[in-house]
Symmetry: C2
Subunit: 254 residues, 2 copies
């Protein structure tokens, strides 16, 4: 029975995609059957795992429109399964906007395959639109990558409002598993304060440890390789492995 | 006669907002009348210049829906004028999606005020949706903030495709002024190669100099203050001032 996590934060560039790819890879190292779902028309996750988005068919777009099954669209890459995206997914956003029950489109499609996996990770786009709402509606838990810089708590408040709406209208069981401190730069004044402020301000957990900011992530990984492959002894790899181990062991999630 | 620049890149967190705020402030230092337009429902620019988005009325949302004029919504902050946003702007995206001529909504509204300014800078959201297309349709020139990391040229190609569509269908006069290398980290392997590759690959200019990656940007500026205020002698401030000086002097843009 898979646990489904939405990795969400509407702010751009806070390591949602990096978190999905790396936590996914670390869970696969621990023996889990992992499914990654690319909910972003920019298809960065699909590209990062070594696929060529524009050459794929069917994709998540076809699944959300009901013209393909999940199982038809899922491919394997890097020891994990992925339900890939490409730019056509922008069409889903338009198509779903005006349809009743549109929030449940992904949940319905995933229902058929989720029992084949231990963990499903959904990579949300940088917006609180219909694709992210589909992700939250289809999930058991939310993981919030947080870049600990000046104004990040404002975005968290907005995201938690959306989570509350989803709990009220489309997915009462949705819970917030916690915040992952991404690209954590200890030299930034107040980075620690921003992080320490989270539990009290929002009543949510901060997963440990913070993932350090390191150029190893920014370097061109061989496409299809996460930092666990191309810099396995780095502090960044160790941090994501520790976070994955926490989720792997977390029977409270079942 | 204002020059209107769309600052666009659908990738998240590549310093679009930072570039709009800082180039705008630098142009104002040079004596220009500057209008900033916040095209992002997350209203990060509006917040960064010291305004409280949720307390503002009317905003760009009201302008795009035709129920307020630009002049009613424009406020001043930090020596510049701003056409602000708040989360209601997400409603514009839905509203405009299905309306004929929707791409021209911003252009029509701005026509009434653009002659009051020397430069108008549009802060686009991290997507290629209807708000960014409105921005591109309303602009004379595009500035592309580029974070020189592994996969950034893929996003530039996608953006230039959208620019071509806009030139074909809604704004034949749109030109690409060039790329601004943002948060440039000389320690990242291939950062220089990514940048050097741009002119040949895309036939567009790279504005000089690259803006260095520096924690001074990430620190909590006093709200309403750009790096030109809170770290005026920093390399980051100097770089944005040099870029602004280039645009200020660029009579080829008229
Ligand atoms: N710990 C880290 N240290 C340094 N760089 C990092 C780290 N984590 C991620 N990055 C880099 O930051 C950039 C943004 O990361 P990523 O694309 O995962 O963010 P995102 O939130 O998915 O962005 P978007 O909002 O556009 O979907 C990438 O270039 C990535 O390689
Ligand atoms: N030169 C720089 N050095 C270090 N940090 C920077 C630099 N420029 C911007 N930043 C920081 O990077 C983060 C992202 O910048 P910004 O919000 O301007 O990006 P954006 O492209 O507008 O994001 P979004 O896609 O969410 O709109 C911010 O915390 C900002 O302070
Ligand atoms: Mg992403
Ligand atoms: Mg922005």
């Amino acid at each position: 029975m898979a646990r489904v996590f939405a990795v969400a934060n509407q702010k751009g560039g806070v390591a949602k995609t990096t978190t999905v790819q790396t936590v996914g890879a670390a869970l696969a190292e621990l023996g889990e059957q992992v499914l990654l779902v690319d909910l972003d028309p920019q298809a960065c996750l699909t590209f990062a795992v070594g696929l060529e988005p524009d050459s794929l068919s069917p994709t998540l777009h076809d699944v959300l429109l009901g013209r393909a099954k999940c199982a038809d669209a899922i491919v394997t890459a890097g020891g994990m399964s992925i339900l890939p995206a490409n730019i056509e997914l922008a069409g889903s956003e338009v198509h779903l906007l005006t349809r009743t029950g549109r929030e449940h489109s992904l949940a319905r499609a995933l229902a058929a395959v989720r029992d084949d996996f231990d963990t499903v990770l959904l990579d949300c786009p940088p917006s609180l639109g219909v694709l992210t709402v589909n992700g939250l509606t289809a999930s058991d838990h939310v993981l919030i990558p947080l870049q600990c810089e000046a104004l990040s708590h404002r975005g968290v408040a907005q995201l938690l409002d959306t989570v509350e709406d989803v709990r009220e209208f489309t997915n009462p069981a949705l819970s917030v598993r916690g915040v992952i401190a991404t690209m954590f730069d200890a030299r930034v004044k107040h980075a620690h304060e921003v992080l320490d402020d989270v539990p009290g301000r929002f009543n949510i957990t901060v997963l440990q440890p913070p993932v350090p900011k390191t150029v190893r992530f920014a370097e061109a990984p061989g496409r299809g390789r996460s930092i666990l492959d191309h810099a396995p002894t780095s502090a960044g790899a160790a941090a994501y492995r520790a976070i994955a181990a926490t989720l792997h062991a977390d029977v409270s999630l079942d």
